[in-house]
Structures are given as C-alpha cells and as structure tokens.
Symmetry: C2
Subunit: 419 residues, 2 copies
C-alpha cells in the first residue's frame, strides 16, 4: 500500500512536470506526436495483437462475459481505427492559446481571455484498449498531461499502446511522461489518483454507473462525470406524426446499448390513439419490449405492466417505457421527476411549445424534432469526444477538446494604473 502511494506520487510528479511542457508545446509538435503515434500503432500491429492476446486469454480464463471480451479484443480493424482517430485529432484546430473577447475598457486596458490546458487529467476507464489511444490523443492535442488507468484486464494491451504514444511524443521532442499508463492493477492506485490534488487537476471516469458513482463519491479532485442517460422523446399533440414516428423509432432502435438512446416515450393524450398503435407495431416488429400502465395497454395490448421503477430506468436494451401525458406541462414534469438531465427531445410543430421545452427542460442536451441519438461530440461538430457530462459545473453535454481546457484572463496595457 505504501509502495502504491509512492508509485502514484512519482507518476503524479512526472505528469505535473510534463504538463508544463505540454502547455507550451506548439501546434506542429502536438500534431507531429499524434501522427507519429498513429504510424507506430500501424507499424506495430502484430505486436499489439500479440500483447492483446495475453489479455484476452486471461480474461477468458477468468470467465469474463462475451461482451466484455469483445470490447477488450483488438483486431486489424480496431487498430487501424485507433490510428485513424489520432490522425483526425491532429486535423482539429488547436484550442490552446486562442484569444477571445479582447475588448478595450474605459481605463484604456484591453481585457480578453486566453484558452489554456487544465494541466493533468486522470482518466479511469474499463477494459477497452482503444480508449487508451483516444484519451491520450485528446489530452496531447489540448496541451494536457494525462494519467491513464484502464481496466486491469487490458493491462498488456494498454502498456503496448502507451509505448506507441511515448514513441510518438519522443518523435516530436515532447516529454514521454505527458502520457502515462498506471502500471499497477491494484484498485488502491485509483484511490490515490482521485485524491492527489497537488498532481491531478481533473478526473474523467468512463465506464459503468457504479464505477462513476464510487469515484465521484471518493474523489478529492474535480470529476467530469456522466451518470445515467434516461432520455425521453415527447410526442406533442401538435406533432407532425410522420416525424414523430421516425424520431421515436430511431431514438430507441438505432442502437440500444448507448447513453443517448430513448428509454421512455411520452405521448400527448389526444394523439395517443393515433400514433401509439402504429409506432408500437414498429417496436414489436423489431423485438422491443414495451412497458406501460393501463391507459397505454388499452391501446397496445402486447405491452407489459410498468412499475414505478421503470420510469427511472436506463435499460440500455430493447425495452421501452411508454406513458401517455395530458400535454406539455405533464411531459416536462415527468422529465424533471424521472429524467437524468442527459438528453430529451420534443416533437411538435408548435413554436411556443418548442421554445418552452428548450428553456424549461434542464438537461445537458434539449432537442426539437430530432432524435436523441444526435447527442454526441462528433454529431455536434466537436470533432472528438472524451465523454458526455451530465454535470453543470465546467462542462455539460458532450465533452470535446474544449472541455479539457480553461480560460485565463489577459490584460494588455500601455502603462495603466488603477485610481
């Protein structure tokens, strides 16, 4: 335990020192590091697959479930896609040093803001080796140093990928300690990482709810977190029903296991008889289990009975809770009570109701006439995404490069003093 503390302290100190270099690195050097890393990853494909095989073998021996093993496994395609991802990050504009809002004040000074890195980012994630390359890439481009703590099942893969990143940094004459993979699989290392305030500026956990809840409970370092995605689509009585059916279908069935999939469908009373049978036929045809109360089941008899718990549930599966509401007020109230402030969408042609929904629903993404599945850094044009924040402090919604930066004030004077 004492050794872990010392090891993590050394990692933290090295990261802090590297972060000062990274903050001053110019755009060309950071892009060179990203592109060189991509090249190393492509070149060392055979080695990466061999190292990954050790992880996969151990995971199978330990009886890890098939889905986890699938996420753990690297192949030709996933390796190229890691390299592609790094090259895409290199293409993005450099957020660091960007000066905005530089304005003269009556005293004659010019005041503005300059975008700066946060410093050292700790990233804690499950056994998905591609996150190692992805997170390293975002941190390099945003001028931060990072400490990566991936799932212990991926330790061989992560070390091999980190080795490529470090070669990339070296090629650009940037400090190798800018990206460090925690080499200790003991959980106590996480406990250190999330409490080393002197060395770590922010923690980004990526993974299941229980992991994130535990980390934010114990952390002393600020956490950019993403808890549940209990997303809603509300079909208003003034909805274009063709749009409504297209959006509600897509929001639920385009992909099931994702945080921006709809989990509860709300339908205005006066259009329920018109829209629910048509829409539910589509769901049932795709194998989606439907859950509702008596009034919904009267329209769609195949529906199972919903319990109070259902309205709170992020299924991440082909299951959908359905509720008929009196109208907009009840829909907003339902979302406020049961939602998770992730993503909610209204389908309506009514201007005033659209504006009210946008203003009154307190979620990180609020939409009109669009599928909740658009809540995503790439779809929003951020170019990359380190996660989706359901917090309000610092970053909200999809977090791209900007979410890993801060802004300092700059003042340009010509000898001014204060009276």
């Amino acid at each position: 335990m004492q050794n872990i503390k010392e090891y993590m302290k050394a990692v933290g100190q090295a990261a802090r020192a590297a972060s000062r270099h990274m903050a001053l690195a110019d755009t060309a050097a950071k892009n060179l590091a990203l592109n060189a890393t991509a090249e190393f990853i492509r070149k060392r494909k055979a080695l990466l697959i061999a190292e990954n095989a050790k992880d996969v073998e151990a995971a199978k021996a330990n009886g890890l479930d098939a889905a986890s093993i699938d996420r753990l496994t690297l192949n030709d395609k996933t390796i190229h896609s890691m390299a592609d991802g790094l090259e895409q990050i290199a293409q993005l504009p450099d957020p660091i040093g960007e000066i905005s809002e530089l304005k003269y004040r009556p005293t004659g000074i010019q005041v503005g803001k300059m975008r700066v890195p946060l410093g050292v980012i700790g990233i804690i994630y499950e056994s998905r080796p591609n996150v190692t390359a992805d997170a390293a890439g975002l941190c390099i481009k945003s001028g931060n140093a990072c400490i990566l703590r991936g799932g212990s099942e991926a330790i061989y893969s992560n070390r091999a990928i980190a080795e490529c990143v470090q070669q990339g940094l070296k090629a650009a004459d940037l400090p190798a300690a800018a990206v460090q993979v925690v080499n200790i699989t003991d959980r106590a290392a996480v406990g250190e990482l999330i409490t080393m305030k002197e060395y770590v500026d922010v923690i980004v956990p990526r993974g299941g709810k229980s992991l994130i809840a535990r980390i934010s409970e114990e952390a002393k370092v600020p956490v950019i977190k993403h808890l549940d995605g209990v997303c809603h689509v509300y079909i208003d009585d003034e909805a274009d029903l063709d749009k409504a059916i297209r959006i509600a279908d897509n929001a639920k069935t385009q992909r099931y296991g994702v945080c921006n999939a709809m989990e509860t469908l709300l339908v205005a009373q006066s259009v329920a008889a018109d829209v629910l049978p048509r829409l539910c036929a589509i769901y049932l045809n795709k194998g989606v289990e439907l859950r509702g109360d008596e009034s919904e089941r009267a329209l769609v008899p195949q529906m199972k009975i919903a319990t109070e718990e259902d309205w709170y549930t992020e299924y991440l599966a082909p299951i959908l809770a359905v509720r008929i509401v009196a109208g907009l007020d009840e829909a907003i109230e339902h979302i406020a009570t049961y939602g998770s402030q992730h993503t909610d969408s209204i389908v309506t042609e009514n201007y005033t109701k659209a504006m009210r929904f946008l203003r009154e629903v307190d979620s990180s993404s609020v939409m009109v006439n669009a599928s909740t599945r658009f809540a995503d850094g790439f779809e929003y044009g951020l170019g990359a995404e380190i996660g989706i924040s359901t917090d309000k402090i610092h970053a909200r919604g999809p977090v791209g490069l900007e979410g890993l930066t801060s802004q300092k004030y700059i003042v340009l004077g010509s000898g001014q003093v204060r009276n």
Copy 2:
C-alpha cells in the same frame, strides 16, 4: 446535531424547489425583485442600523478586532451602497437563455448552446453584511437560488437584510426561498451545506485562506475557490522605466489588504541599479517595508533580509519582497515556483517577451504593462463580482454573473434521425 441536519435539509429542499422557479423567471421579474429589494433596504435603513447595532455590540463585548468590527458595521453610506449595488445588477444584461454558436451540421440539425443557471449556490462568508445583499443580487439575476451562510457575528444584520430581499422577491412574485439565510450559527451547519450534493450545486466561499482551505478540503459539492493572491510584477530589462515605476508603485501601494496587490517585485539584473533605488525611495517614503537578499540590499541598504518563506507570502500589508532575476526565464520560473496563479504582470516594450509572458505564466490573470490591481470583475467589465477564482475548473479569475451559469446544448431539427 440531528436538528441541524434536518434544518439544513429543509433549507436545501426549499432552495432546490425555488431554483426551478428562478431558472424560468423572466428578466423583468428578476429586475423587479432587485429594484424592490433596493427600495426596501433604503426604506428600512433605521431598522437595519438597529439590528446591526446588536451585532456590533456583541462583537465588541466578545473583543473582536477593530478591522473586523469596521467590516461588520453598517451606516448610512454602506446601506445606500448595498442598494445601489442591487440596482446596478438589475441594469446588467440577463445572461440566462442566451443562445450562442447555433450552427447547422451536415445532417441538417442546428446545434448551439443555451446559458442556464447552475441551480443552488451556497455562499459562505465572514461577518460582512453587505455580502448578503451583494450575493443575493447576483444569484437572483443569474436565475439561481442561494443559501447564504454569513459569519455568526452578523446574524442580526443578515436576517434583516434577507428580510428585505424576501420582500423584494415577493413583490416580483418570485419564491422567497430563492434567497435563504442560514439561521443557525453552529459551525455544523456549514458542514451540512458543503456536503448536501442533492440540494447544492456549487459552493462559493468568501473569506480568509484558512476558511477556504478547510471548506474545499471537506466539501463534497464543487467549490469555486480563491486561495492566495501572491501577485508579481516583473520589470524587464526592456521596460519603459517610467511605466515600470508607475505600475510597481500602484500595484503595491494603491491598496494593501487586497488579493490583487503585488507581493513580490521581480527586476531584471541589467536595470536593477537604475530602477530599484528610485522605486524603493517611493516605497520607503510611503512606509512600505522592503525585504530582499544580499544583491538587492546592496542597492537599497534599508531593505530587511528576506527568508525563503517571504517569496511564498501574501502580506496583505505594506511589506514587499524584492528579487533581482537574470531575465524573463528566471522571472517566469520564480512565478511558477512561488506564485499562487492569481495575477502577474510584466513591464516590457519587447513584443516577443510580452507574448511569452502571456502564454507561459499560468495564472488566472496575466498582464502586460498594467497594474495587477486591475484584476477585478468591475475593471474587467463583468459588471459585478462574486469572487476571484484561482481554480481552473469552471471559472477562472474574476467571477461575475456568467460564472454562476452553465451552458446546455440545444438541437433544432426538422425531423432528422441518425443513420
């Protein structure tokens, strides 16, 4: 103790409920509440002074120091200035609902950001009753609810001011619970306030270092904090020496007890003999105690000997540490080692060195040819200031109305679904 827990929970629940109303309040209602509060404060001047007298009397009986009693005391002037402050906040643009960066994406959706309140702000401050009106005003205008916990020595004054605010809220048909003063002087109430994550979104402590350090150590709720202000002015070898003397004089002596006053002066070796004797004569004439090492004392014999501790110290007093450095690199290194990331200024006519200082000094305000005393919400044009953050997460530097808000994503579609 159980009673305090229950009391604070009730305060938190009421604040959370009020925050939903405040988030949707329109600009006119919020301005009406602010102006009505100002009116009540002016009308009840006699009552406020009477209530304040109880606090002042108790404070004197308890042997509070003169400076603290001075900050505690309300008079005609301070009462009018509280009212003026509220009316000024009413004049500021409403940040809430502001939509920015609304852009079309290739999929046809429009993605942008809408500014929203944080929710419930907990403000913890010392025995300065004017902060009660000031903080309440900023929270009302930014659509937040707040829980105010002022120093126990000001409890009668704070209650009387809060009563005016609540009358103001009532006049605008806004919930009185939008501004609550904690009625319990027991310190355990603070412990509850900073850990009630369900009811409080952010804590803003205003006060001494030790208070803030303790709060951020124990808080479970995010804290916008302001620790030391160890501010530097660096006089470069290519400085205009007249500007340098004017700025270094102003930064130290315009006011001593403030966080943006200079505490350490750095001077480039090659101009030290020219500038230090002239500048130090001004300081000595104003009664500023100077501290330096041998090389500085060789130029200014009246200087006392500085210890290592001096370079870290925020004097908040007529004391100044002075160090001669080789040049820009050593100045930046000194600031990185001993500074507190608050405000630092370079005096130089050299473009490249000015740009390097702006980019390389990692402080919340970085200046060229201007006095550090400008680091202030009003001077920066924020119109108001709840504090100065030395954090990097969320808000950095002077925090105005915007620092009490967040941004959510909004998506405007016309039936789009994701492929």
